[in-house]
Symmetry: C2
Subunit: 400 residues, 2 copies
C-alpha cells in the first residue's frame, strides 16, 4: 500500500511550488431557502471579497456537490462560472460522497501546485432540506456499497452503529464517552454564528435522546444541513500581491478504504484516514505535536473518536477516553472541531470539506472570535466519504 | 478571455513531463444488462491487460459518470477501486454532463504531468437503459440551465433544434446536409464491433424519420446508450517499461461557455470549443493540418457541423457543405468520427469522452480494422457537455 508514498510523490514534493489558502467564505449552515447554485454564489462572493481579487482573476472553478440532481440541476460548472461573470474558465464538479469538498480542494491545490493556474476557486454546496428525512436518508445511503449494504437496510446510521458496537466491544468505549463528543461540539458551535445548531446539551440529553440505530441516539448524529463554503487557492506569488499573511497548504493526503464495511479488517477503524495522514505529514515535514487543532469528520460521535485514533493523536481505542477527559476541548491539549464539527456546525454534504477549511482560515487568521483556539498556527482538516471509503486530508500552516 | 493562455499555462508547458496514453478498453455500447459499476470493471480489465500492467500498479482512479444515482449508487471511487483489488488508491468521480469523460481524462493527465502519479486509470461508465425515454430525457435536461431552459420545456433535442435553426438561418445550412452527417457516421459504425448501431441509412431515411424537435428528426439524434470505456495514462518513463509504441498526449484544452443558450452571442456556435482548441494547439505546437482525424461530439448532427467549424477545420458556416461533399468521410480530407461518433457508436454519457480516446488509441495503433484511417499518426478528441457549457479537448500523437 505504500505506492502512494513512492517515487513520484517524493519527486513532486521536492519540485512543487508553494500554494496558499488566500481566503474563504461560507453561508450559514442549516435550512436555506435558495438553491445549491445560489448558495454557492454567496459563499464565493465572500471569498472573493476577502481575497481582494476580481472575479475575472479566477482561472478555474472546482465544485463539490452530491445531490443537486434532486434539485433537477447537474452540470453546475458552467452555471456557476456564468453567474460569477467568468463563463469561459474550466469548471467541473467532483463527487466522493461526504468527502467531496476535501477532494475538490485537493484537485484545485494539485493544479495550482503543478503550475496550471495561479488562482482557483473551490466551492462546495448542498441543498437537501427539500427532501423529507426518509428520502434524504435513502439518497445518502447511495454513498455506501448500495448493492450489498443499503439494500439490506443498512443506512448510514446503521453502518456507523455497527462501527460503534465494534469499537465498544474491542476497546470498551462507552455511550457516555460518545455523548461527550456531542456535548463538546455543541458547546463549540454556540460561538459559531454560521453553525446549524446553537443549543447547549448535556451528556444526559444525549443519552436520553431518541434511539436512531442503537447505540447511536439522535444527538450522536449530525443533522441534514444546507449550505455552501468557498475557498480561494493561489500560488504564493499571486497571493503575495494581496496579503502579507500567508496560510500555506503544507500537505495533502488522499486515500480509499474498502468500500463496504464487511471488507474491512477492523470495523472500528478507517484505514484511509491513516494512509492519508501519513502522506500529508510526510509532505508537510511536520509532526503531530506541531498541529494546533483538528477539524475532523464527526458525522456521528463515534466517527470523531475513530478519527483522532486513526490520525494517531492517541492510541487506538483511547479516543473515547480522551474525549471524555476534555483533551479535545477547545482549551484542551488537542482541540478537535472548534467550529462545532459536522455534529453541531452542520453537514451540507458537498460543502463540509470546504467548510472545515473555512474554519481553519478563520482560526489561523485569528478571526474566530469566542471560539478562537489561542495561538493556532497549524491545523488539519480530515474529510471522510461514507463509512470511510474516501479520505481527503489537508494540513495548513500560517507563515510567520 | 485569454487568461487561460496566460503566464502559468506557458510556464507549465515548458516544464511539464511527457504523458503517454498507454492503453484503452471499452465495452460494447448499447443496452447492457449490468450496472455502471460492473461495466466499468470490464472496460478497466481490457485496458489493464492491453497495457500489460498489474492492477496494483494503478496509483489513482478517475471516474466519469453522471447518472449512477438513478441506479441508487454514488461514491463510485472506492467501490471500483475495491473491485479492482486496490482499495487504497485515491479515487473520485468527475461530472461535467456529457463532457465528463474528457474532463476526467484531463484531470488524470494533469496529475501525471505534474508528477503526482506515474500510472492512472480513467474509467467512464454509464447505465441509463433502465429509464424510460421520457425519464431519461428529463434527467438529461438537468445538464442545461434547468431553472431557465428545461423548466420551460426546452430539453436537449429542443435546444439543439434551436441551434440548428439558427445555423440554417445564418449560414443556409440544409436538413440534407445535416442528414449527410448521420449517414456518414452510421456507415463508419458498420465497421466498429462495439458500436450501438450497425445499420446503414440513407439521406432519405433521415429526412423521413420521425420529427423529434424540428428541424431535428430521429436520425439526427444520438441514442441513449449504456457502456463503459477506460484509458491508462502514464508518465513516459513508466510507459517505456511496457511498450515501444508511445502515444503522447500533446495538448489538453478545457473551457466553459455561458451555460444557457440565451446568454450566447451566437446560438450557432460553441465558444468553449474554440477556446479549448486554441489552448491545446498552442500546447501541442501543432497546426490543424497535422491532425489526421477528429473524434467530435455529435450528439446531434448539427453538433458535428458546429464542431468542425468552431475547431477551425473550415470557415464558420461551411460545416454542412463540407459534410455533404464527403470531406469528413473516413477517406476524406479530414476524417471525422471514424468510430461512428455519438450518433452511431452510441453515447453512454460518462463513457463518451473516454470512448473517443479509445478510438484514437485503436486508430493510432493501426488496430481499427476496416474503419482504419490510413496512416493516422495524430488525432483530436472533442467532448462537449450539454449545449456546449463545457468543452474538454485533447490532441494525441504517436511517436515515430
Amino acid at each position: 500500500m505504500n505506492i502512494l508514498l513512492g517515487e513520484p510523490f517524493r519527486k513532486w514534493c521536492k519540485t512543487m511550488r508553494k500554494v496558499v489558502l488566500l481566503s474563504t467564505g461560507s453561508t450559514k449552515y442549516g435550512r436555506i431557502d435558495v438553491t445549491a447554485r445560489e448558495a454557492a454564489l454567496t459563499a464565493a462572493k465572500e471569498a472573493v471579497e476577502k481575497a481582494g481579487i476580481e472575479n475575472r482573476e479566477i482561472q478555474a472553478l472546482y465544485i463539490s456537490n452530491v445531490f443537486s440532481m434532486t434539485e433537477r440541476q447537474g452540470h453546475l460548472g458552467p452555471l456557476i462560472a456564468t453567474s460569477l461573470g467568468v463563463p469561459w474558465i474550466p469548471a467541473l464538479t467532483i463527487e466522493t460522497a461526504c468527502a467531496s469538498g476535501g477532494t475538490a480542494f485537493r484537485e484545485a491545490y494539485a493544479n495550482v501546485a503543478a503550475g496550471f493556474y495561479d488562482c482557483v476557486l473551490v466551492v462546495g454546496t448542498e441543498k437537501v432540506s427539500h427532501l423529507d428525512v426518509v428520502t434524504a436518508t435513502t439518497y445518502f445511503s447511495y454513498g455506501s456499497d448500495y448493492q450489498f449494504e443499503a439494500v439490506n437496510g443498512a443506512s448510514f446510521p446503521g453502518l456507523y452503529a455497527a462501527m460503534a458496537r465494534a469499537h465498544m466491544h474491542q476497546y470498551g468505549t462507552t455511550e457516555e464517552q460518545m455523548a461527550s463528543v456531542a456535548v463538546k461540539n455543541h458547546e463549540n458551535a454556540l460561538h459559531n454564528p454560521k453553525a446549524h445548531f446553537h443549543k447547549k446539551i448535556t451528556v444526559e440529553d444525549v443519552l436520553k435522546s431518541r434511539v436512531i440505530a442503537s447505540p447511536l441516539k439522535l444527538y450522536d448524529c449530525c443533522p441534514f444541513s444546507d449550505g455552501a463554503s468557498a475557498a480561494i487557492v493561489a500560488s504564493e506569488e499571486f497571493a503575495k500581491k494581496y496579503t502579507d499573511t500567508l496560510i500555506y497548504v503544507m500537505g495533502s493526503g488522499r486515500a480509499t478504504s474498502p468500500a463496504a464495511l464487511f471488507d474491512r479488517e477492523n470495523m472500528a477503524s478507517i484505514p484511509a484516514t491513516n494512509l492519508a495522514m501519513n502522506q500529508a505529514l510526510k509532505q508537510a515535514k511536520l509532526s503531530r505535536k506541531e498541529i494546533d487543532f483538528l477539524e475532523v469528520h464527526d458525522c456521528f460521535t463515534i466517527a470523531e473518536i475513530m478519527a483522532i485514533e486513526d490520525l494517531g493523536f492517541c492510541e487506538k481505542g483511547e479516543g473515547g477516553k480522551i474525549s471524555d477527559e476534555g483533551v479535545t476541548a477547545r482549551d484542551g491539549e488537542i482541540p478537535v472541531n472548534p467550529s462545532g464539527g459536522l455534529k453541531a456546525k452542520g453537514h451540507p454534504v458537498g460543502a463540509t470539506g470546504v467548510g472545515q477549511i473555512n474554519e481553519v482560515y478563520e482560526q489561523l487568521m485569528g478571526e474566530a472570535g469566542k471560539r478562537q483556539v489561542e495561538g493556532a498556527m497549524t491545523a488539519l482538516t480530515h474529510n471522510i466519504g461514507a463509512t470511510g471509503g474516501t479520505c481527503s486530508l489537508h494540513i495548513f500552516r500560517r507563515g510567520d
